[in-house]
Each structure stands twice: as structure tokens, then as C-alpha cells.
């Protein structure tokens, strides 16, 4: 076994958004950093097989959908011809550009990138085994575990290449005629949107009674409505009881509210969640505690039970979101460098990049009702937004939840095109402790969708003029 020449100030295990951020921040703070990544390119799931390639495909889907919709308003392009090779290639070029950029950034910061699968030997050493089975010993003073998560595999499924996870579904060649998505969460619905736009007959099966469980039902309703016209079927309250490989497809049997017992699909995407990679890193060798679900418990400074070993991102718990991981990464790197940073963010926004997009942050109405939290709501329907109508869309709305005592923003939810971009203002408002008048009195540019946030605040305040509303307050 080879040893690295030096003992690194900080070893970062995993180069996803959390890992590379921790490595780069620590390097900027003067630490000598090793970044360990098992795949050939940096960036982790998000850049390689997650957020970024899926967004490229969603953009393609949106272009197709919008072109088609404009045919009703005087612009027709005809049926699109889809070259999946070119599409895949473009998607991959987007990924490569970003991951290549990361490699450059690592080089500029003199971060040592070590390729291979890392496992702890003890509390100050990692063994890294690369593809040629060469083992390197990486010694470190401190460590950040950023080993991420992977798709959950349902037990008892046949070993069949037509049953894929999200990673497999991002390779869209050949296009299936029919696709079953098991799991009506964000990942499944984003990919389902892509396949539907590209011409597949998409069916979604979801165990609970609502697509995107956890989001407020009113936010999901416009999405469900739109999917009904684009998807072959949406099976809610329905369980998959079995799958068998047949020569002309995968036979899937169902049980529950849906009135079909079984159906045949060309391809099946299993998107029932992700599980942390806690079990894969031999954390016990370093004395790091892993809970029974594979998560690594951490404190507000992102320390594990072992003082000099940190953990961040998907592996420390929900929500498994890149923007949570990067924030945690900076805290961990700063604490490792002797700062007194703490994970102090009050809210973490969630976004589904479906069409329409759904985004929410902070308090949801579901949470408020479950926990008995008092709130008042200001809501603005996009049917009254000139900009939304000019985009040929009217199903969206913006709602902001306020503390009834002082008007401070507690959270909000938005559904409609670009909701994910709009939610940042609500997140900022919560972090700044802004109240309804702070938002309402901030001049928002017209005509934009961002106005809808201000108008939701005005609706709460009773100062909104773009709608006629019963008088609420002076």
C-alpha cells in the first residue's frame, strides 16, 4: 500500500456539491486538502447523474411543450424530430463543462484530488482503492465525510435492464413507448415530464394519495391537472406488488385504489427515494457513529461524535438537497479551519423542476396545521398576472405565510413556471426576518412573475389593488 507523502490537514470523502465546496472553502482558508472521489469526474450525483443532466433534459422537454402549445395561438412547428444521440451528447457536454470546471478549480486551489473508493482505516487514515485496485493510504488531521446517497432499490425485483433507477433513466436511448414511474416524488415526476414530452406514454404510481408527498396539496393540484393531460395514467393510493420480466416488457401488478391489477411497460423507473451511503465507508474503523438507517448524526457545527471528523450533505439526513450540502460544507470547512461557524440557516427551499415548477420554503400549511402553528396566508393567483398570461399560462399561484402577530414571513409556496427562481425571495425574507410590508413596499419590476410575491404580501396586508378582495385590514 502506498502512502501519500503528507498528512493532509483535511481529507474530504466525496466530491459532490458538498464535498467539493468543503474542500475548496478549506483550501481558501489555508488548509492542505485532499479530495477523494470514486468516479473519474468530480461533482458527485448532482453534476453527473442528478440535478444538472436532468435540468438539461427538462429544458428540452419544455421547448417541445411550449412549441406545441403555441400551435393553438398561431405558431406551428409541426411534429418535432428527436435525435436522442444528439440530445444525450448535448446533455453530457453540459455535465462535462461543469465537472471540468471543478477540476480546474481544484487545481487552482492546490487541492489534491485522489481517485478511488475511500474507507476509513482508523480515525486519522483512509484507504483509497482505485479502479486498478491500487491502494493508497491517505493520512489526515481532520476529515469531512461527504459520501452522499444512492437510489433505493426495491427488494425482489427481477434483474432486468429495462428496470432502471434515476441514473439509468437519464440515458434516454432507446425511447420506450411506455414507461412506468414507481414513486410520485420530485425525481420521478421530473423524469416523467421529460419522457412524456419526448413521446413516451408515462404512467405514475404513488403509494400515497398525492403526488409529491410533503408539499402542500394546493401547490400540487395544478401540476396533477397538467400531468393528467400529458401522462397516460396517474395511479394514486396504489402499491406495486410485483414485477416480472416478459419478452415484450415488464409486467407490473398493482394493488390499491387504481382499478387495474396489472399492466405491461417497456420500461420501469424506480424512484422511491434515496438512501445514505453511511454503510459503505467503514466509519466504525474511525469510531464514527452511523445510525440504523445509514445516516451520520452531526451537531450544528457538522461534527460527528468524533471531534475532528465532520459529515455533510445527504449522508447526514433529509432533505437530501445540493444547496443544503454546500451550506453545510462551508460550516464544516470553517470549523475545521478554527472558525466558530454554525449551521444557522432557518429554512431550506425545496423545488420540483417539473412543468409547472413547484417550490416551497419554510413553514408549509401542512406543517402549520399538524403542529398547531398560527399563520395567515397571502395568496396571489397568476391568472391575474399579465406576465403569466403572456406566457400562455394561468394555473400558477404564489402564497406567502405570515405570523399573524407581527406580519413576519414564516414561509411560502409557489407553483408555476420559474417558481424555483421566485422562491429565493421568500427564503431571503425569512432569513432577514422581513415582514409583509417589507416585501410589499419593495418595488418589484413589472411585468414579471416576481411581482406575484409582492402581491401575495399585499393581499395579506390588504393593500393589493390588482384583485378585488374583501377588506381585511386598514
Amino acid at each position: 500500500m502506498a502512502d501519500t507523502e503528507t498528512t493532509f490537514d483535511l481529507a474530504v470523502l466525496g466530491s459532490g456539491p458538498g464535498g467539493y465546496t468543503a474542500a475548496f472553502r478549506a483550501a481558501d482558508l489555508g488548509l492542505n486538502v485532499a479530495l477523494i472521489e470514486r468516479w473519474p469526474s468530480l461533482g458527485g450525483v448532482c453534476l453527473n447523474v442528478g440535478c444538472i443532466p436532468s435540468k438539461a433534459l427538462l429544458h428540452a422537454a419544455k421547448v417541445i411543450d411550449e412549441a406545441e402549445e403555441m400551435s393553438a395561438h398561431g405558431i406551428s412547428f409541426g411534429t418535432p424530430s428527436i435525435e436522442t444521440d444528439k440530445l444525450n451528447h448535448w446533455k453530457q457536454s453540459v455535465v462535462n463543462r461543469l465537472t471540468g470546471g471543478l477540476t480546474q478549480l481544484a487545481k487552482q486551489r492546490k487541492v489534491t484530488v485522489i481517485q478511488g473508493t475511500g474507507k476509513f482505516i482508523d480515525a486519522h487514515n483512509l484507504s483509497v482503492v482505485d479502479e486498478s485496485q491500487t491502494e493508497t493510504n491517505v493520512s489526515f488531521k481532520q476529515c469531512v465525510i461527504a459520501a452522499g446517497s444512492e437510489p433505493v432499490i426495491l427488494p425482489g425485483l427481477p434483474d432486468d435492464p429495462r428496470i432502471v433507477d434515476s441514473t439509468g433513466a437519464l440515458e434516454i436511448d432507446p425511447m420506450p413507448d411506455s414507461l412506468l414511474i414507481v414513486g410520485g416524488g420530485i425525481i420521478g415526476l421530473e423524469l416523467g415530464s421529460v419522457y412524456a414530452a419526448l413521446g413516451s406514454k408515462v404512467t405514475v404510481v404513488e403509494l400515497t394519495d398525492q403526488l409529491m408527498p410533503g408539499a402542500d396539496p394546493d401547490l400540487v393540484r395544478p401540476l396533477t391537472k397538467r400531468f393528467k393531460s400529458r401522462f397516460a395514467d396517474i395511479l394514486l393510493g396504489t402499491k406495486v406488488t410485483g414485477m416480472t420480466s416478459e419478452s415484450d416488457g415488464i409486467r407490473v401488478s398493482f394493488e390499491g385504489k387504481a382499478d387495474i391489477d396489472s399492466a405491461l411497460f417497456d420500461r420501469v423507473l424506480v424512484a422511491v427515494g434515496r438512501r445514505p451511503n453511511g454503510a459503505a465507508i467503514a466509519a466504525d474503523a474511525a469510531g464514527v457513529h452511523i445510525d440504523e438507517r445509514g445516516f451520520v448524526p452531526v451537531d450544528k457545527r457538522m461534527r460527528t461524535n468524533v471531534d475532528h471528523i465532520f459529515a455533510i450533505g445527504d449522508i447526514v439526513g433529509q432533505p437530501m438537497l445540493a444547496h443544503k450540502a454546500t451550506h453545510e460544507a462551508k460550516v464544516a470547512a470553517e470549523v475545521a479551519a478554527g472558525h466558530k461557524s454554525v449551521f444557522d440557516a432557518r429554512v431550506i427551499p425545496s423545488v420540483a423542476y417539473t412543468d409547472p415548477e413547484i417550490a416551497w420554503v419554510g413553514l408549509t400549511e401542512l406543517d402549520a396545521k399538524r403542529d398547531g402553528i398560527a399563520y395567515e396566508k397571502g395568496q396571489f393567483p397568476w391568472a391575474a398576472s399579465g406576465r403569466s398570461l403572456a406566457m400562455a399560462r394561468d394555473e400558477g399561484f404564489t402564497k406567502v405565510l405570515f405570523d399573524p402577530t407581527d406580519g413576519r414571513v414564516l414561509g411560502g409556496g409557489i407553483v408555476g413556471p420559474n417558481a424555483g427562481d421566485l422562491i429565493a425571495e421568500v427564503a431571503f425574507a425569512v432569513e432577514m426576518g422581513a415582514d409583509a410590508s417589507d416585501i410589499g413596499l419593495t418595488i418589484h419590476p413589472h411585468p414579471t412573475l416576481s411581482e406575484t410575491v409582492a402581491m401575495a404580501a399585499e393581499a395579506f396586508e390588504g393593500t393589493l389593488t390588482d384583485l378585488y378582495m374583501p377588506k381585511r385590514r386598514a
Binding site: 482558508l29 450544528k300 457545527r301 475532528h308 475545521a336 478554527g338 466558530k340 415582514d435
Partner: protein
């Protein structure tokens, strides 16, 4: 010509609804100017409301138990015409004049000039920090700056802060560079002022705490990183639930974490009670100076008095040294149970020997002062009683004996009291001590003492004998446990068993920390010290 005048409650400070506890006059009484009419009592003090007129009391408008405020009528007094004319020039309307007339303290330093000319910008009050690192210089010669533009960034171990320009204009010279250490008053830059006569804030803007991440040099992580770094202030655990609801933006929360401040304890002064950086800074300053902004037992406050009401005043800021030494003296005074032991030492022989040796010593460039002899005697006595050379551990649980003797001596300078330290004083004879005393005193007078020349003392001597006095009670320079005060020696008749002898007697006053030193030990110490001082041959012995 007689007239009836209403006598009203004068400005009584920031009090209203103050209780009347006594009515001193009744209708028909004759009162002179400044005679008390009623007595008021606030929670701080009681005070009489004086008559602003001389004459006869027509009626009294208040009763005991009433609560009254400034401007309320207390009584009506009928004045005699001639009395009025006589008393008018001497009447002091100030007693009822509103406080606004008080002379505003003038702070020349903090008034930025608006005229055209070359102005210097200096490091403002940055709290009790000395030798602060310049980590960034944001401007260079020739740059145009506006008021409040950052010139340089300073970094203490607590925070980093920008020093803003107090002058608008063009930078003509820069006197600091990155890596320099500066203190309050250090000249940063010279600026050719271009400002017109537009109004500018009267006070120099305080340095802004950088809201962004402090750019401190990272401490190289060690193998066993402490679990949590000690918070800057003496705050205990942070109330996380309260912290998460505090009205503070993310950048302020980050700063609070760096400073170890629990936002629950900080009162916000920003818009709608928002906690802003200045609030954090003020809170930390209060904590550092032992203030009571936060938790913990606070001392009863000394009443605030508007001195300008009683005559002309001038207000001069304390010197930096005074600002530092004040809280330290107070800390010792509050924390240590002080006892002072007085004694007299017969220094007749010592003084004779000193005078005899003085001129030969002067030839060697040494000024042989009494203090050198006293210090030698102190060292000899400390060798017998090493407990006087010890300190309590910070937790008060153990005694730390120091196997070195560094003797501090209080030196009076123009800027205030400083205590230079003679290191390894036990290894020096009287001549060497005299020389060290002279050198350090000169440096102290010139304000050129280095920090290490004021650190590490194990015992301190405060000699006021050159000025006068018969005894005083010095304050222990904690965490030392003893300090020797020396007053002026005088010729006194001492009974030798047969007759009175004229002997030169030196008053000694030993204050000590009674937690460490017993009264018996203290008096043994002063007794032996007096014996050492009386034994001049012992003092002159060469150091082995």
C-alpha cells in the same frame, strides 16, 4: 409691586412621577431664595425643590404622597417688588432651566473637518485593543475617498473591522501597510480634503464590524481539536431555540457565532428591533469591560449627574492607559478581599550608606535611589515568604508558586499609571536594580515600554515616598497577591530602651489578597522587610 409667582418642579433628570415625601412650608410662611419647599424622592435619591423666588407662600399645591413631574406647580409665592428687583440679578433661572442648555461636551478629535486642506485620519477608538494587525489596505495614494469609505481593515482576535475615512478627498500619503500593528490614534493616511461645507456627522463614525466572514488566518488544526472554541465573551451556552428566532439577518448571526454572543441576550436597535452589528459590538464591549448589559450580578450604579448644570465644565476623554488600568483596578478591588498591613522601617543606616555611595555610583552612570534598596529588601523578604510571590489559579482551586521574581513598580506618567516590570529582580544587586529602575522609568515616561516590559510581575511596589504621605492602601495588582506601598520617610524619635534617638523611619503599607495571605504572614513579612531595610550590609551583599 407685589406679584404671585408659580414655583414649578425644575428639571430633575429623567424622572417623572416622583413622590413628594415631605412638604417643608405652609401658606403664610416667608421663604428666601433657594429655601426648600418640598422634598422629592426617586428610587435613587431624595432632593429638595428650592424656591426660585423670595417672598410669602400663598399656597402649597402638593401634599405628601403626591407624585409630580418636571413643570408641575409646587407652590405659589407672592414676591415683594423690591425683593424681586434685588434678587433678580442673583436669581438663578438655571435651577429650572431645561437640561438642553447644558454645555455640550466638546470632542474636538471626533469632529471631521470639512474645509479644504490636508487632513490626517487616525485609528479611532477600537475598544481595548492594542497592537491590532492591519490585514488589508483598501486604498492607495492618489485614490479619491468619500467619508465612511473603508481605508484599512484591522483584525483583532475577536473580530475584523474596517476603519472608515473621516475626510473626503484625495489620499496624499499612507502611513500603514499590511502587517503593521496599530493602536488608537495611529495615523493611517493624509487626505487632501475636497469637501465643501456640507454637513457631516459630528462624531467620527465608529468602525464597522465586518459583517462578512472574518478573514482571520486559520489556526492550523491540531490532532485533538478542542470540542468547542471558547466564546469571546463570558456567555454560557447559547439558547438555540431563542437564537433561531432572534430578529437578526444571516450575516449578523454568523458574526454572533464568531463572537460567541447569544442573540437572545442582545437588544436590537435597528428597524423594528432588528439586531444590527453595532448592537453586537456594544454588547461585547460591555461584557469585556465588565458591564452589566447581559446577565450576572451587576453593581449598583453611581448616579449620573449633569455637572454642567452646576457650573462650567470641560470634558476630556480618558487616556488609553487610564481606560485600560481603570477596569483592572476595579476588577481587583471587587474580586480580592484586601487587607493592608502598616509598619515602619528604620532606614537611617540605609540612607546614610546610600548618600555615601551616591556620587561613586553616579560616576558609573547609576542613580542610586531609595527604591533600589527597597526592592532589594523586598526580594530578600520574598525569598523567605514565597507565598507572597504566588497567585491563585483562575478557578481559585489551587495556589501557583512562581520560581522567579519579577518585581513591578508603579510609575506615574503623563498618560496615567503604568507598571514596568524588572524581570529576575532576585538576580540583581542594588546597583543593577537602580540601573534597571532608571531605564524602565525613562521608557515609561516616554510611552515606549514594550508589552513584555509590563508583563509577568509577581509582586509590585508602589512608592509615593518621593511626594509625601504617611500611609495608604494600595490595590493589589491581581492576580498577584501582594503590593507594597511606600510613603515618605521622616525623622522620628525612637526609644532605644534608654533614650529617644532620632531615626529616619520609612512607612510601609502592604496590601494583600486575604484569600492567600494570612494576617500573621503579612505582619511577619513587613517585620522582616523592615529588618532587611535596617540591615544595610545585608542589602549591599553581592548576589551569589
Amino acid at each position: 409691586m407685589a406679584s404671585e409667582i408659580e414655583i414649578r418642579v425644575p428639571d430633575i433628570g429623567d424622572f417623572s412621577d416622583v413622590e413628594v415625601i415631605e412638604v417643608l412650608v405652609a401658606a403664610g410662611d416667608t421663604v428666601a431664595l433657594d429655601d426648600g419647599l418640598v422634598t422629592l424622592e426617586t428610587d435613587k435619591a431624595s432632593m429638595e425643590v428650592p424656591s426660585t423666588e423670595a417672598g410669602e407662600v400663598v399656597s402649597v399645591s402638593v401634599n405628601v404622597g403626591d407624585t409630580i413631574s418636571e413643570g408641575d406647580v409646587v407652590a405659589i409665592v407672592r414676591t415683594a417688588a423690591e425683593t424681586v428687583e434685588e434678587s433678580e440679578p442673583t436669581t438663578e433661572p438655571e435651577t429650572s432651566a431645561p437640561a438642553e442648555e447644558a454645555v455640550a461636551p466638546v470632542d474636538e478629535e471626533s469632529t471631521p473637518s470639512t474645509g479644504v486642506g490636508v487632513e490626517t485620519v487616525v485609528v479611532p477608538d477600537i475598544g481595548d485593543f492594542d497592537g491590532v494587525d492591519v490585514i488589508e489596505v483598501s486604498v492607495s495614494v492618489g485614490d479619491e475617498v468619500a467619508i465612511d469609505d473603508a481605508l484599512i481593515t484591522l483584525e483583532t482576535d475577536k473580530a475584523s473591522m474596517d476603519v472608515p475615512s473621516t475626510v473626503a478627498g484625495t489620499i496624499t500619503a499612507l502611513h500603514v501597510s499590511v502587517g503593521d500593528q496599530v493602536a488608537e490614534g495611529a495615523v493611517i493616511a493624509e487626505i487632501q480634503s475636497t469637501a465643501t461645507a456640507e454637513p457631516v456627522p459630528a462624531a467620527a463614525p465608529p468602525p464597522k464590524l465586518a459583517a462578512a466572514a472574518p478573514v482571520s488566518t486559520p489556526q492550523p488544526p491540531v490532532e485533538s481539536t478542542p470540542k468547542t472554541a471558547a466564546p469571546a465573551a463570558k456567555s454560557s451556552a447559547v439558547d438555540e431555540a431563542g437564537f433561531s428566532k432572534a430578529h437578526a439577518s444571516p450575516s449578523i448571526r454568523k458574526l454572533a457565532r464568531e463572537l460567541g454572543v447569544d442573540l437572545v441576550r442582545v437588544k436590537g436597535t435597528g428597524h423594528k428591533g432588528r439586531i444590527i452589528a453595532e448592537d453586537l459590538k456594544r454588547w461585547v464591549k460591555d461584557q469585556l469591560s465588565g458591564g452589566s448589559a447581559g446577565q450576572g450580578a451587576s453593581l449598583p450604579a453611581v448616579p449620573t449627574v449633569d455637572f454642567a448644570k452646576f457650573g462650567e465644565i470641560t470634558e476630556t476623554p480618558l487616556t488609553r492607559i487610564q481606560k485600560i488600568s481603570g477596569p483592572r483596578l476595579q476588577a481587583s478591588w471587587i474580586n480580592l478581599p484586601h487587607v493592608t498591613q502598616h509598619d515602619l522601617a528604620d532606614i537611617t543606616d540605609m540612607d546614610a550608606r546610600r548618600k555615601a555611595l551616591k556620587s561613586t555610583a553616579a560616576e558609573r552612570g547609576i542613580k542610586l535611589t531609595p527604591l533600589a534598596f527597597i526592592m532589594r529588601a523586598v526580594v530578600q523578604t520574598l525569598q523567605t515568604y514565597p507565598r507572597m510571590n504566588s497567585s491563585l489559579s483562575a478557578d481559585g482551586g489551587s495556589l501557583i508558586e512562581k520560581h522567579y521574581m519579577n518585581i513591578g513598580f508603579a510609575a506615574d506618567t503623563e498618560n496615567g499609571l503604568v507598571v514596568p516590570v524588572i524581570h529576575d529582580a532576585d538576580k540583581m544587586d542594588v546597583y543593577e536594580l537602580a540601573q534597571a529602575l532608571a531605564e524602565l522609568s525613562a521608557l515609561a515616561r516616554d510611552g515606549k515600554l514594550k508589552p513584555q516590559q509590563m508583563q509577568g510581575a509577581t509582586f509590585t511596589i508602589s512608592s509615593l515616598g518621593g511626594i509625601g504621605g504617611t500611609a495608604f492602601t494600595p490595590i493589589v495588582n491581581a492576580p498577584e497577591v501582594g503590593i507594597l506601598g511606600v510613603s515618605k520617610s521622616s525623622m522620628q524619635p525612637i526609644w532605644d530602651g534608654e533614650q529617644f534617638q532620632p531615626r529616619l523611619m520609612l512607612p510601609l503599607s502592604l496590601s494583600y489578597d486575604h484569600r492567600v495571605i494570612d494576617g500573621a504572614l503579612a505582619v511577619r513579612f513587613t517585620t522582616q522587610l523592615a529588618q532587611c531595610l535596617a540591615n544595610v550590609d545585608g542589602l549591599m551583599q553581592a548576589i551569589p
